[in-house]
Symmetry: C2
Subunit: 535 residues, 2 copies
């Protein structure tokens, strides 16, 4: 076995071995290190309070109030506390009743031990250091198809210059590959000139928000619960978030009647609603939309003149046999809507799927149904940042065009891919069952994406205890959970939820062998918590 892999495996074993050293004592008295922070989701923890005697020119009063307003729970207070605990553990491994922090707050698979797909990394390495392609030893080290693919990619890059800025939409040859991948997926044509390659999906979302939002009078229909990138981006760009609620009782269903009601209410307040955000498969909710529901959404956007912003970054993450991913573009085209009928932006990322290459910051948006003059403005916005990173661009083309039957890497690629996806499905099911077995907790099925979003029916005493600490009740629960178990989850209040309900988001990403221990810890913690606060 290999040194790098051995070391990586060793790290995982060490961690899980240490986990069994201590018998967890839940609800330890030491409480939130950051209780002094006034907002729930503020940021870095290590800094001391502002020096009032300072003569520094920038103060909270003088900065852009939109920045102040923006919140991003996924990396908010709870993560700062976790990082603090982790540092304490480094200094003293007996500081807490657990040995490691398990980050279930963010869809970051490789941080929890998922290995990258070998073929993708082979191609990236060859493109990064292309003179390897001239060496005979390379043929012993790399698969034949990775070498072929690297040559093909280099030939698509003007001057083979992987270190040059590319076209601001991304390298044309890579966009051709991506468009062909979309065509193969949907069965409808895709145009490489509609593809904008970006450093992950987030900058693409920001770009569309920046384009569409001029002031508070411009609104975006957003699901509640939602991935807080949307609320953060709408806040940063000064628009209004117009919420529509996903219906937990029907597996996070999306009711057109509710959409319509919220739209009309917003319009009656003078808000021009510009777009509808749909996240499918859902984040944080994990549902996969049914095709007829998608048809209704498309028709609604068409009738109401809304841009459809389709977050489809979990398109590869579907875990149940009765659901299938359909892109909104495919649904729209199936309904007969073309380029002149509906404005549709689809976001995709290399960070999710079975690849989970978050650190590579690759992604794209497919922009269809915009007039040429508006497209020029989108291009101009892209050009101000010159281009997205080339490794991310290459990876985006690879995930849309992985090895095919007959390719040297095909069998190992399929084994890696299926291993990851089937393990994710198992982990989702084990966690879902574990959560549903807890007193007062109900958890919808994780049909897709990387998350569970259980509802916790908190006892009144717990809600009062949270209020006494000026904390949202679900944040109170999540901090207690963290302090007792080292497991980091994100309070539902960071995503939005129906008033009076409380949730948390937990990823399904810890490695499979860790899941039973996590379920045990959650179960023990929850029991103690309920015992302490039961009415």
């Amino acid at each position: 076995m290999r040194r790098f892999l051995i070391n990586q495996a060793k790290g995982l074993v060490d961690h899980s071995r240490r986990q069994h050293h201590k018998s967890p004592s839940f609800l330890s008295p030491q409480s939130r290190p950051l209780a002094s922070l006034s907002r729930f989701f503020s940021s870095t923890s290590e800094m001391s309070a502002s020096d009032s005697t300072s003569s520094l020119p920038v103060t909270l009063d003088s900065i852009n109030p939109k920045v102040l307003k923006c919140e991003y729970a996924v990396r908010g207070e709870i993560v700062n506390i976790a990082q603090k605990l982790q540092e304490d553990l480094k200094a003293n491994k007996d500081a807490y009743p657990f040995d490691e922090i398990i980050y279930c707050n963010i869809g970051n698979p490789q941080s929890l031990g998922q290995l990258p797909i070998r073929f993708f990394r082979e191609v990236l390495a060859l493109c990064d250091h292309a003179s390897l392609l001239d060496e005979s030893e390379t043929h012993g080290l790399f698969s034949t198809d990775s070498i072929d693919r690297a040559w093909k990619i280099l030939d698509q890059i003007p001057g083979r210059a992987t270190g040059a800025y590319s076209h601001s939409q991304g390298i044309k040859g890579l966009r051709d590959v991506i468009a062909a991948g979309i065509e193969a997926r949907d069965g409808f044509p895709a145009d490489p000139n509609d593809i904008f390659l970006t450093d992950g999906a987030s900058p693409a979302v920001h770009m569309m928000m920046q384009l569409l939002l001029s002031s508070k009078k411009d609104g975006i229909l957003c699901p509640i619960p939602q991935y807080p990138l949307y609320s953060a981006s709408i806040a940063l760009h000064g628009g209004s978030l117009v919420p529509y609620y996903l219906d937990e009782a029907t597996g996070w269903g999306l009711e057109i009647s509710d959409l319509k009601k919220q739209l009309e209410e917003a319009r009656s307040k003078g808000i021009a609603v510009r777009a509808l955000v749909v996240i499918n498969p859902g984040n944080p909710t994990g549902q996969v939309l049914a095709e007829d529901n998608q048809r209704d959404i498309v028709n609604f956007c068409k009738q109401e003149g809304l841009v459809l912003l389709a977050d489809e970054v979990y398109q590869e993450n579907v875990y149940v046999p009765d659901k299938k991913f359909h892109s909104f573009k495919k649904v729209a085209r199936s309904l007969g809507y073309g380029e002149k009928d509906i404005s549709l932006v689809s976001f995709q990322s290399v960070s999710k799927g079975y690849y989970g290459e978050c650190g590579k910051r690759g992604g794209y948006m497919e922009v269809t149904g915009f007039t040429s003059d508006v497209r020029e403005q989108i291009y101009k916005m892209a050009s101000v940042n010159l281009c997205s990173n080339i490794s991310g661009q290459i990876l985006a083309s690879l995930v849309m065009s992985p090895p095919k039957p007959g390719d040297d890497s095909y069998d190992s690629y399929m084994a890696e891919r299926d291993g990851i996806l089937s393990s994710m499905a198992k982990r989702a099911k084990t966690l879902e069952d574990g959560l549903n077995s807890l007193e007062g907790v109900t958890c919808n099925r994780a049909e897709g994406a990387m998350y569970l979003f259980p509802r916790i029916n908190l006892p009144q005493k717990a809600i009062e205890a949270a209020e006494a600490e000026k904390t949202a009740p679900d944040a109170f629960y999540c901090k207690r959970l963290l302090n007792a178990t080292g497991v980091v989850v994100v309070p539902g209040s960071g995503f939005g939820q129906a008033p009076g309900t409380w949730h948390f988001r937990c990823t399904i990403l810890p490695q499979e062998d860790k899941i039973p221990a996590i379920v045990n810890r959650l179960t023990e913690f929850h029991k103690s918590f309920m015992d302490e606060f039961r009415d």
Copy 2:
């Protein structure tokens, strides 16, 4: 010689061979393919006009007017024309009196044949595909120090997961290396917690503008001429650009009296000036500031309560023996100003220097002199985009900590580095002399950066001809130059210039063997142009 290198070299030779096929006929009658575009620096050329019968919801009238206002000349109309010409040449190599488009519009060295530094690419490849580190063949293919460095970097990444999102400021171990590099450069301490790694310098600049600008009432002092990222970013974030003029007559000197005058004038209009942008070495102007001038600037910011935004991305690009790069942080600390005295942000990028790794999108900002609560806001903004790309982060650490004497790669690294920098210096000088020999053209010395910014004294008849075409006179000149020679330069009006003066920006980046031909073509074109329009 190696296949990859041979092929790359062959491409260059083919290009230059083809260049001699035709005798250039300047001022060909075919004129601007994009004359119909109303704004000077609009974008993509291929699209047809907006379909007025369309029912699409988004129109130029309904989008964010800040986006409409934003302009970015470096990738503006002139580049669209160039791309169109390039496509025409592909279809018909005899379409124009030249064989290739030479992009002197943008600081993109590797697009013009500069090779990446081998050590950097070795480390990136090993980090991308870390299981190479387990193979014995790797020792034959990679330098010893690249292998050591890759191990060191992997050990700095939690779980060795190069595919995971990192801390939103960047991987802590890499920030340690960068801080140590800054300390070694300046002789003053640097704190890794002050470093924010970003996808190139541009997103860092946007982040600071977003923080500082709330409305038109917030201003940023910007040099004129300036790199249009600044004007674009100020426009996108809705602030006011408060111009100060660099003095061409004194080698693009920065006069504190002018700064003061502009500041007072802005304040008298009710604009709260938040920050001063200084680009050193200068872009597009190429000057390197004298240390006593820098001291005056620091004192001015201190006295006036301005954040100093120091664009120092060309810190490695200094070509004259009588000038030296000094960071503004070093200058401020030398004056005795500490963390509580002055707010200073320094931007650095892997795109410039001798490395020129534009496509990798790596960079950082060092943020000093901000209160902890404002720092938390900056961190929050960084966290909304999760993190910058890890390859770019690694590269940023490498450029701040290249091979040292005694390392396996040291000699070859130094040869590559010095070869690139001394060739840039030669190219700058040859172009500068060539430009200064033209009738009515004066060009300041390129002391640093990657550009020349010659002033062209255009005949009145040329100015009238431009006006008749509703084009800025320098844009008129640059388009004529492009259509006649295939050389792409950017009109001075894209950077700003003293009223009534006309310039263009030309990079010094075409490979050395091409420079004489470029000077000849420029000279011939200029002569014909002057003959046509001389008063």
